[in-house]
């Protein structure tokens, strides 16, 4: 019994990482209808940044988080203006997907060539600190990961609800043309959205680096899982995305515990297909959400 609880806890902690990635995907997809399949590779890229800052310069991963996030916001805006602006304007689904795929290929290959395909992980001095609570082991770094995920989720949700730009983002998600009639500049809104998406990727990347090992090609797998989490949570729902991620983490780890890693993956996708078929608006979704 204790062991299952351990798996459940791990599932939640792991899943929160998927959740953070999913929020980013959700925002980008919601406003621009872009399936940003490169999200996973971007997360891995940031994991590498975290890793190198730690290994070469000795900077603690949680301290490097701040500059990394700032850089990521700029990068996100850069991605939008540099890569996706035209496709977003034309609502070109295939085009934007292909661009995202191109970016993913580029990043994966770049990281493999430059940093070698060997797995890495950030191991800090406190990385082995474990709390023992009611017979369950809680790794410090994973707890911090969960905490960061929660903070990010609340942060983004608050931003969307309470700020003017956040409200503009929500409006643009719903109806771009009408939002331009309010004087909202869709490019600025999209750039902000993308920036947040990449910022969340940076956060997830740090969590990934400090809690698990990663390699350059992990990106696609991660992106697919984020997509699953997004679907479970329902597009456009920030808290939903986080919960979707956690649910996914639970399914994955419980599945691994009961039937082994390989089949657990199959279960994940089976759940995905079921969710798509029967609850496309998310498990928590209402009867008629905007798509």
């Amino acid at each position: 019994m204790e062991f299952i609880t351990q798996v459940v806890i791990n599932g939640i902690l792991f899943g929160s990482m998927y959740g953070v990635a999913a929020i980013g995907l959700s925002l980008i997809f919601g406003t621009m209808r872009i399936v940003f399949i490169a999200q996973g590779s971007v997360i891995v890229l940031f994991a590498y940044c975290c890793f190198w800052l730690f290994s070469l310069l000795g900077i603690d991963p949680y301290l490097s988080l701040i500059p990394i996030i700032l850089v990521s916001l700029l990068l996100g805006a850069g991605f939008y203006y540099g890569l996706f602006k035209e496709a977003a304007a034309l609502k070109d689904r295939i085009g934007s997907l292909l661009i995202a795929v191109g970016l993913m290929f580029f990043l994966e290959n770049f990281m493999t060539v430059v940093w070698s395909p060997n797995p890495r992980a950030v191991v800090t001095s406190y990385g082995f600190v474990v709390f023992h609570l009611f017979g369950i082991n809680l790794t410090l770094t994973r707890l911090i990961g969960l905490l960061l995920a929660l903070l990010a989720t609340v942060g983004v949700a608050t931003f969307l609800r309470k700020t003017l730009i956040g409200t503009a983002v929500r409006a643009t998600s719903e109806d771009v043309e009408a939002s331009t009639l309010m004087g909202i500049n869709p490019n600025r809104v999209n750039a902000v959205t993308f920036a947040i998406g990449i910022g969340l990727a940076a956060l997830a990347g740090t969590t990934l680096a400090t809690t698990y090992s990663f390699d350059p090609i992990y990106g696609f797998d991660f992106a697919i899982k984020a997509l699953v989490a997004l679907t479970l949570g329902g597009i456009g729902r920030v808290y939903g995305a986080l919960l979707g991620g956690i649910l996914l983490g639970l399914i994955e780890l419980l599945g691994t515990y009961f039937v082994g890693a390989g089949w657990a993956q199959a279960i994940v996708f089976a759940v995905f297909l079921l969710a798509l078929t029967f609850r496309p608006y998310g498990i928590f979704g209402g009867a008629s959400e905007k798509v």
């Binding site: 997809f29 209808r33 399936v35 890569l83 035209e86 496709a87 304007a89 034309l90 070109d92 689904r93 295939i94 085009g95 934007s96 997907l97 292909l98 661009i99 795929v101 191109g102 970016l103 993913m104 290929f105 580029f106 990043l107 994966e108 290959n109 770049f110 060539v113 696609f220 697919i224 997509l227 699953v228 679907t231 390989g262 089949w263 993956q265 199959a266 996708f269 089976a270 995905f272 297909l273 798509l276 078929t277 496309p280 798509v291």
Partner: protein, 325 residues
């Protein structure tokens, strides 16, 4: 008077098109005679033909159902694995090697898989959700292959006995034939009354909803035919490569390159995928040789550049109007 002239011109255009097509086919068909059949050029064209088959299959689904399928690599792989398994287990007691019956069977397996996932996905999901669904189905297949034990040999893949190899020629012509066939199939289906009617209905969601089951039948059929073409293509590739493994046949390249080809060539046209395949094939196979290890990086950049600056493709360049905004 003007109308009669127009009709004459149309008839002439038709004749000219047919002559051009015939010439092109002859040109491609005779390549192995004037260029060394085992040369890189033949290999390049062979790969182009494979991509044309896949692209036309994808094109059919995209045009007919109005949905973007992200499962091309799954159908391709299914065809390849079916062929390999049949061959290794000597299921059909006919030729060991390069058996058309096996190729057809491989295509059928893919088509059946398409029907199985097509019915739930096409009936319930629209747009991006459908695409996610096909991607998920493809990943499920990948896992099944990896976990297939002795049957599929997991990540290492199946090795096929190489004695039958007699030279590039037969592959080349088979690929060319299949490419022509695929193009013809797609051409006739999309130009048929059913094809045009479906296209109109796709653009009107309310109409689509009220036509329900009949639409579904045709959509699933298109999906299955596309899958069949992809499966046969996979079978041919298996015969060529002698190794069938996830990296070889379930590579994401097989999924998105056909899409890129259709877009580059010009979305929704029949000639488009052919032109697109020739260009993309050139970029990727020569890049593979010269730039080797970093070629996916280059590929990535190329895709991005193409989509940014030529989203309507090459066929679209000729009638580019300035965009709205």
């Amino acid at each position: 008077m003007k109308d009669r002239i127009d009709t004459y011109i149309k008839k002439d255009k038709r004749k000219i098109s047919i002559i051009i097509i015939a010439l092109v086919i002859i040109a491609f068909g005779t390549v192995p005679f004037y260029s060394d059949v085992d040369s890189f050029f033949s290999y390049y064209l062979f790969i182009c033909f494979l991509y044309i088959i896949l692209a036309q299959g994808w094109n059919l689904v995209a045009g007919y159902t109005g949905q973007i399928s992200l499962g091309t690599h799954a159908f391709f792989a299914l065809g390849a694995y079916t062929t390999a398994i049949i061959w290794l287990h000597d299921v059909t007691k006919t030729w060991y090697y390069f058996d058309p019956l096996v190729m057809v069977l491989s295509g059928l397996v893919s088509a059946i898989f398409a029907i199985i996932i097509g019915i739930p996905l096409l009936s319930r999901l629209r747009g991006d959700y459908f695409s996610f669904g096909t991607l998920a189905a493809a990943e499920v297949l990948r896992i099944l292959i990896l976990r297939g034990g002795k049957f599929t040999e997991g990540a290492m893949g199946l090795r096929l006995p190489g004695e039958g190899f007699t030279g590039m020629g037969i592959y080349y012509w088979t690929a060319l034939l299949l490419a022509i066939l695929a193009t013809a199939v797609v051409y006739f289906i999309t130009r048929s009354r059913i094809g045009l009617a479906l296209k109109a209905i796709n653009e009107d969601e309310i109409s689509a909803a009220s036509h329900g089951i009949y639409i579904l039948k045709y959509k699933v059929s298109a999906f299955a035919i596309g899958a069949f073409l992809m499966g046969v293509c996979g079978s041919l590739f298996a015969y060529y490569l002698f190794i069938v493994s996830p990296p070889a046949v379930m590579n994401l390249n097989w999924m998105f390159l056909p899409m890129l080809i259709c877009i580059l060539g010009g979305n929704g046209t029949i000639l488009g995928p052919i032109i697109g395949a020739l260009i993309v094939g050139a970029l990727f196979s020569y890049a593979d040789v010269y730039v080797g290890q970093t070629h996916p990086m280059l590929s990535g950049i190329i895709i991005i550049l193409v989509m940014k600056f030529m989203p309507t493709g090459i066929m679209g360049l000729k009638d580019r109007i300035s965009p709205r905004r």
